[in-house]
């Protein structure tokens, strides 16, 4: 006798419901999507006990006809697609004809609808001309009731009572009313941001939680949800099909909850986009802090597939890396073009400050733009051309016999300002002073105030930047060692040797085995010439074997799952593993807090700082520069 049975359809729906409906918030999601699909411009959600007891959604959409009503709770019944081809170009939120069937299986559901009165529509019974009736239909635990006339305004109302009343196991998993309500609010928030032109109202236990009138500018919605303080600090970027409001790097959040990604007005979660955002802010914000990002992507539905996950939270892009790169470049560009220096909390909230520029030249520092160009240049010019530059190059300087140049003296900041052909402040002739305090900080006078610089953080940042530049150009200088440095490895480090070796090599660390679990360093990257090498090696191994690292490399593998072969896309930064190791290298190579700096060293640091002007935080993300403006000083001393 056959063991296989076709499952009763109710059971199938109960199982299916588990995938789509797992808590009141997901009910709200399905219902709002349906309302939006029906063209509603007003949506009201009413819940009781966090939605566990009762959820009602009322919309002013086009409604349903009497004939369609008995079908809405049936599985695979949808008005939104009809052929397989439709699947590749879904323009509605729903397409499976599954949500209401699932809901009807696990709750006591009721749907009341009145078809919108469409001008010129014929075929209505004479006695009810121009005013079609409303109808109601119920489904309780999978039992479909009859379709009956009712009284209701145009549009649709769906009520969900006692969610999971017949699936106690699932009900048990629901959290407290407050927690579930939190999820419901979050859900409505997402839709409200994605659809600023739709009026939303959310009522819980008779109290109005949200009351949002339609607006034309999404910023108004953001203001409502996140407050002026955050919204005033957001930068707007737009390019092609992508728009975004992004926080300046000074304003960070403890989690990614302030990141919202929308694809054609659908809230999505996407690892690639999250990665792009992370990369864009890399080195600009502290570890463990996250930017606020509201990202709106518009793209033809053919470019992605939403039918990969029952909750439609995740999508699959056809050109995931392209999307990644566009977003990375869009945000990064904006960040590099803006200069942020945290300012003293005297007076009002910090403003976005121009950095190291003479007053009046704020805005678009050329240094930053140059840094950007470098950042995205596929291959910065080689350090040395394979042959000597021909006549086009600068005329060679003839060494005049007998002249012995004195050692290049300390560089003043005046020179700094005139350093490059397109350097900032070419006309600047005032000399500003700088000095070190507590052998850890540099105080530097700038035209509109004072900078307080963490010498280690800044130097580390500069070295990271330059080292990456070299890496990008495959131009990492290895200093050959006359006398190799021997490093004795611990057994567990030794086990990792073959795995970490390619990374070491990429970084310019030439390693040979010396036996007895000892390695000998034959060459080192030039920036490390004064670093404590054994300590560095141990730390590299340590980093490499840490959990965080393993996770990062796992996320790296997910990239190949995305079946993206081409890694050479512009803007693609280093493998995150390598990225971390580079930071570590720079940290070791940089001057430490407590190192006394000679005046020339201070000037050299400031001079280099002027080049990539966005270097306000060290790679660990700690801030590197703090600015006190003259205005703030004036305010403080009450001269104003």
């Amino acid at each position: 006798m056959s063991q296989l049975k076709t499952l009763p359809s109710l059971l199938i729906n109960k199982i299916a419901a588990g995938e789509v409906i797992d808590r009141p918030a997901s009910v709200v999601k399905e219902l709002i999507e349906n309302a939006l699909d029906s063209g509603a411009s007003q949506i009201e959600v009413t819940v009781a006990e966090g939605g566990k007891k009762f959820i009602r959604l009322t919309d002013n959409g086009m409604g349903l006809s009497q004939a369609d009503l008995p079908l809405v709770f049936l599985s695979h019944t949808t008005s939104k697609i009809s052929t397989e081809d439709d699947l590749t170009g879904i323009r509605t939120f729903g397409f499976r004809g599954e949500a209401l069937a699932s809901l009807g299986a696990v709750s006591q559901a009721r749907l009341i609808s009145k078809l919108k009165n469409q001008p010129g529509q014929a075929g209505l019974p004479a006695g009810q001309a121009g005013a079609p009736e409303a109808y109601v239909i119920e489904m309780k635990g999978g039992q479909l009731g009859p379709c009956q006339p009712a009284a209701a305004p145009e549009g649709t109302t769906v009520e969900i009572n006692n969610l999971f009343f017949n699936t106690p196991a699932r009900r048990k998993f629901l959290k407290s009313n407050a927690v579930e309500m939190g999820h419901v609010t979050e859900m409505v928030t997402r839709f409200a941001i994605a659809h600023p032109n739709v009026q939303f109202r959310l009522i819980n236990n008779k109290k109005h939680v949200l009351d949002l009138l339609p607006v034309t500018d999404v910023k108004e919605r953001l203001r409502h949800f996140f407050g002026d303080d955050l919204v005033n600090q957001l930068l707007f970027v737009e390019e092609g099909d992508v728009q975004a409001y992004i926080s300046n790097p000074i304003l960070t959040k403890p989690t990614t909850r302030w990141q919202f990604f929308f694809l054609n007005q659908r809230f999505i979660r996407d690892r690639m986009i999250a990665r792009a955002v992370r990369q864009a802010y890399a080195e600009l914000i502290p570890n463990g802090r996250y930017p606020a990002v509201f990202l709106f992507i518009k793209t033809p539905p053919e470019e992605y597939d939403v039918n990969v996950h029952p909750t439609k939270l995740e999508v699959r892009f056809r050109h995931a890396w392209q999307v990644h790169d566009e977003i990375l470049s869009l945000i990064r560009k904006k960040l590099l073009a803006s200069d942020f220096v945290p300012q003293a909390p005297i007076g009002s909230a910090p403003e976005i400050a121009s950095f190291g520029l003479p007053a009046g030249q704020a805005g678009q520092p050329i240094g930053a733009r140059q840094a950007l160009v470098d950042f995205f240049a596929n291959r910065p010019p080689e350090m040395f051309p394979s042959s000597l530059p021909g006549g086009s190059g600068a005329p060679p300087i003839q060494a005049s016999p007998g002249t012995i140049f004195t050692r290049p003296g300390p560089v003043t900041q005046t020179e700094t300002a005139n350093a490059g052909p397109d350097q900032i402040g070419a006309g600047q002739s005032v000399r500003f002073s700088a000095f070190q305090i507590h052998q850890s900080y540099i105080i530097s006078e700038v035209p509109d105030g004072v900078l307080i610089i963490d010498q280690h953080a800044l130097h580390e940042r500069i070295l990271t930047h330059k080292f990456k530049e070299q890496m990008r150009a495959a131009n990492v200088y290895r200093q050959k060692l006359l006398v190799p440095v021997l490093v004795e490895l611990e057994p567990k480090e030794y086990d990792l040797l073959s795995e970490i070796r390619p990374y070491l090599e990429k970084l310019g660390l030439e390693v040979a085995e010396f036996g007895q679990q000892t390695i000998s360093l034959q060459a080192i990257p030039q920036i490390l010439t004064n670093a404590n090498l054994p300590e560095l090696i141990h730390e590299l191994f340590n980093n490499f074997s840490s959990d965080e690292f393993k996770n990062r490399s796992a996320s790296k593998k997910s990239k190949s799952e995305c079946e993206i072969a081409d890694d050479q896309v512009t803007g693609e930064e280093f493998d995150p593993l390598l990225d971390d190791l580079i930071n570590l290298l720079a940290c070791k190579a940089a001057v430490k807090a407590g190192d006394a700096l000679a005046p020339e060293e201070i000037q050299a640091l400031l001079k280099q700082h002027a080049a990539p002007a966005y270097t306000t935080t060290c790679p660990h993300g700690r801030p590197a520069v703090f600015k006190l403006t003259l205005d703030e000083l004036k305010k403080y001393f009450q001269r104003k």
């Binding site: 007998g402 060692l481 006398v483 440095v485 404590n532």
Partner: protein, 372 residues
């Protein structure tokens, strides 16, 4: 104690001792200078325990005794005064210093707290030639390493045999070797690593007319006596700790198979390399040297800074050759070369650049490579 001495002599002694007295120390009394008055002389003593110096000058001693004085105060008084003579009297730990127009009362410290200063045992000492020592120190010390992790390389290797003196300084990336024929009455060959501090001090003390210095070697200490002579009425005694560790076998790394060779005029070369290095920065210093028929070209390029190309004439007609290196390594050595000419030898891009002056000085630079 009660003394009168010549201010100029006291100041000269003070100036030599002052740099070795720590401005900050976990043993605060070391921040002072110790003065001992004996028969017809006074001793000035300063130490940071790693190195120490005792300087003796003649004085009129009316009352013997010891006093410990704050270094900077004493220095300021000596500097400000134009007197010929100066009077110092002590009353417990208090010093009274009298000049023509001034009278100073300065609180000193208790001599009991000052660490014992070693003695120089002339009987155990052997002589080495002083002439040329200054040059040897100068030509090697700059190549030492600042990395405490490569401890042995922070010092200069000193080899003393009956017939030869040798010094080697290296930071693992470059190496400076110098040797000199000289007669020493050492009982056996000596090989120690001396910290730069002590050598710099010695280099400053030795004068051109000094013929010999006396040395004793104890377990971890090198003691040196520079005899009286010239303006010095008395010998100077200094000691220095030694660096323990294995100095790399330098003889092995000095190549003998460099097949390309070019003679270089020092001044012109120094000017050229300095110009080429103008566009290099901080931790990213790389210059390419290109040898072609009778031309030597330096080329540097740094992003954000610019590029430099500098040419000079040399007589070279071997195979064209190029090599990349840290220009600082050459600039450093050029500061200590007094000779008008030297030779450069090469083998290939990954082998050391060898700079030679005659047969006695060799300086190696490991190149930079960009092999992928």
């Amino acid at each position: 104690m009660k003394i009168t001495c010549e201010r100029a002599q006291l100041q000269e002694a003070f100036q030599i001792i002052n740099p070795i007295i720590p401005t900050r120390s976990t043993i605060p009394i070391l921040q002072n200078i110790k003065i001992i008055a004996e028969k017809q002389t006074i001793f000035l003593i300063g130490t940071d325990l790693e190195i120490g110096l005792r300087y003796e000058i003649p004085a009129e001693v009316k009352e013997t005794g010891t006093i410990i004085l704050p270094t900077q105060r004493l220095g300021a008084i000596l500097r400000e005064s134009t007197d010929e003579k100066i009077n110092i009297e002590s009353d417990g730990h208090i010093a009274r210093i009298k000049t023509k127009i001034g009278y100073f009362k300065i609180l000193g410290a208790d001599p009991v707290d000052y660490p014992d200063f070693p003695e120089f045992d002339t009987k155990k000492a052997f002589e080495i030639e002083a002439s040329g020592l200054k040059e040897m120190i100068r030509k090697t010390i700059f190549a030492t390493s600042g990395e405490i992790t490569r401890y042995a390389l922070t010092g200069v290797l000193l080899e003393i045999t009956k017939k030869e003196l040798r010094m080697v300084g290296s930071d693992g990336k470059r190496l400076a070797f110098i040797k000199k024929k000289s007669e020493q009455n050492v009982p056996q060959n000596i090989k120690v690593i001396a910290p730069p501090k002590g050598l710099i001090l010695l280099e400053r003390i030795i004068q051109d007319k000094d013929k010999k210095i006396l040395i004793t070697l104890e377990e971890t200490q090198l003691k040196i006596q520079v005899p009286a002579g010239g303006s010095r009425k008395h010998p100077i005694f200094l000691f220095s700790g030694l660096i323990e560790g294995n100095f790399p076998d330098y003889a092995n790394v000095i190549p003998s198979d460099s097949d390309k060779k070019v003679e270089i005029p020092t001044a012109e070369f120094a000017a050229a390399i300095r110009q080429a290095a103008l566009v290099t920065t901080d931790k990213f210093k790389a210059t390419k040297m290109i040898l072609e028929k009778n031309t030597l070209t330096f080329f540097s390029r740094t992003q954000d800074v610019g590029e430099a190309q500098v040419k000079m004439k040399v007589s070279y007609d071997q195979k064209p050759f190029e090599i990349v290196f840290n220009p600082d390594f050459l600039i450093d050595v050029l500061r200590v070369i007094d000779e008008p000419k030297f030779t450069l030898e090469f083998k290939d891009k990954t082998s050391p650049i060898v700079l030679k002056i005659g047969r006695n000085y060799v300086y190696l630079i490991m190149p930079l490579t960009v092999d992928v």
